[in-house]
């Protein structure tokens, strides 16, 4: 059943695999965020084995080991699903960009796993930062795959004019990417000065306010645009407003507690949620932009496929 031509709806198995990979990667970003928030990154000092074995003794009973080793186990399953997805796309999808995305996802997940391991072995805080940032980028690649394999990517509704969302979409995606990179860096700053003590925090705040401002304009533009581009962009704006709220709550909590990285429940979950919703915003921004730039030749190919 290889009726996958450009613009045709890909095999259901691939779509399911893509959505599964994205959902699992979201859980993985949450798990990774918890590792940073709980300062558990070095609680398992070796890699690729953990304390010399597949599973360290009593790992699920010991808080920090459960957090770090759990992240590794989830990462391993995400890596497997991503490799299956990438290979399936490469072998079955006729669209060059979809095949490229499949290979990019495989390369990204392997590079990310390697980086996570080297961060531990080399005791490198710089690599921890790059790993955090790249985790978001990997999530963005999976969001792109889910988008180009989704039914709305190939249905008629998607053929409306989305060009007005292109430029503001690019600006928004760039702002979100920058904001995530600064946010991750901020989470890896040493010192106990409290979040307000870091100059980077003020840059994060400034870009956050710019995103809020840009989202108001983007929402107005999206409300005039139908189809999946308008719909996705409207969702993006909603998520961004939630994210601004989470950001304010996180900064307030961290400042009041004065102890970043503490194991307290709210102190580990609230910043992690802020990281995860950030990934969600990036995914929606990628999807919205892809819809806005969807290749116009889809219709002809859809018709050709229907006629066959």
């Amino acid at each position: 059943m290889s009726e996958l031509s450009t613009g045709n709806l890909p095999d259901r198995k691939i779509r399911v695999l893509a959505v599964a990979a994205l959902l699992m990667a979201f859980v993985l970003v949450v798990a990774g965020g918890l590792v940073t928030s709980r300062d558990a990154g070095l609680a398992v000092p070796d890699w690729p084995l953990s304390y010399g074995g597949i599973n360290p003794p009593r790992w699920y009973e010991i808080d920090k080991v459960r957090t770090e080793h759990g992240h590794r186990l989830i990462a391993a399953s995400v890596a497997v699903v991503t490799c299956l997805l990438g290979l399936a796309l490469y072998r079955n999808d006729t669209r060059k960009y979809a095949r490229t995305l499949g290979l990019a996802a495989i390369a990204a997940v392997l590079a990310q796993a390697l980086m996570g391991g080297l961060r531990v072995i080399w005791l490198s805080l710089d690599l921890a930062m790059v790993h955090g940032w790249f985790g978001q980028a990997f999530f963005g690649i999976l969001a792109a795959i889910v988008t180009v394999t989704s039914p709305s990517w190939v249905n008629d509704e998607a053929l409306e004019d989305h060009t007005p969302l292109q430029r503001p979409g690019i600006i928004m995606l760039s702002l979100i990417g920058l904001q995530l990179a600064i946010g991750v860096s901020l989470r890896h700053m040493p010192g106990s000065a409290g979040v307000l003590g870091h100059p980077l925090f003020y840059l994060h705040l400034l870009i956050g306010l710019s995103i809020l401002f840009a989202s108001l304009r983007l929402a107005r533009q999206a409300s005039r645009t139908g189809g999946p581009a308008g719909r996705t962009t409207r969702r993006l704006c909603g998520v961004l407003w939630l994210q601004v709220g989470l950001g304010i709550a996180t900064a307030t909590l961290l400042q009041l507690s004065g102890q970043e990285g503490s194991a307290g429940l709210a102190l580990s979950w609230l910043p992690t949620l802020h990281v995860a919703v950030g990934a969600g915003a990036l995914g929606l921004a990628v999807a919205g932009l892809l819809y806005a730039y969807r290749p116009p030749l889809q219709r002809d190919e859809q018709l050709a496929a229907d006629l066959n």
Binding site: D39, A40, G41, L42, A43, V44, P45, D46, Y51, G52, G53, P56, P57, R58, E61, I62, D63, K64, V65, V120, L123, A263
Partner: protein
Amino acid sequence: MMNLLLRGIAVTAVTTAMLLAGGVHIADAGGSITGTVSFEGDAPSRRPIRMSADPACDAANPDGRLGDAILIADGKVQNVFVYLKEGVTGTFEKPTEMLKIDQKGCMYSPRIVGTMVGQTIEITNSDSTLHNVHSMPKESKQFNQAMPIKGMKIKKRFTAAEIMVRVKCDVHPWMAAWVGVLDHPFFAVSAADGSFTIENVPAGTYTVEAWHEKFGTRTASVTVSEGGSVGSDFSFARAN
């Protein structure tokens, strides 16, 4: 026979010259520095450690455990690292015996130690749980080593002098040890009664520093005479 005699004289002469010129010292002569470390004012109270992050640590301490960063009894401070900071010349042989650090009851024992550059440090895990030993020197290479099994021992050494190197366990965040790494053997750690003795110090004038992980440092100048004992007391107070 004559040859042997001449050779003996030559060896003795070279060894004496090296010692006089500040070459390799054998630290078994000289005087000593003794003193007591006290605390002014009310001693901060010791807080109980919450070990619930690992049930095995909880089980190893059924009656609970108090933090040991500050140990003060009757106004005397334990675990102060006292060493010669300035004035030492020459090179010194590192001891052949190993410095031993144990992980027991999810605590380091001892918490404050001194070692010479290159001296072997043997670290043991006496607990029924896993630990990792993570040293954080700035002058030597950091290490972070898994110790998952009870009875496991590892050997490490530092390659450069540094006051003080923090050692921690990333699994049990309350665990901390501090290692003073020196290129000479003139250091001591204050006992429960606050007393310390640095022995075999070559005659001369030195700056002595007393280091406490919470209260900071104090210094004093002392002059040691051959065969004599000089006193140098230190006093800490609450950090502002």
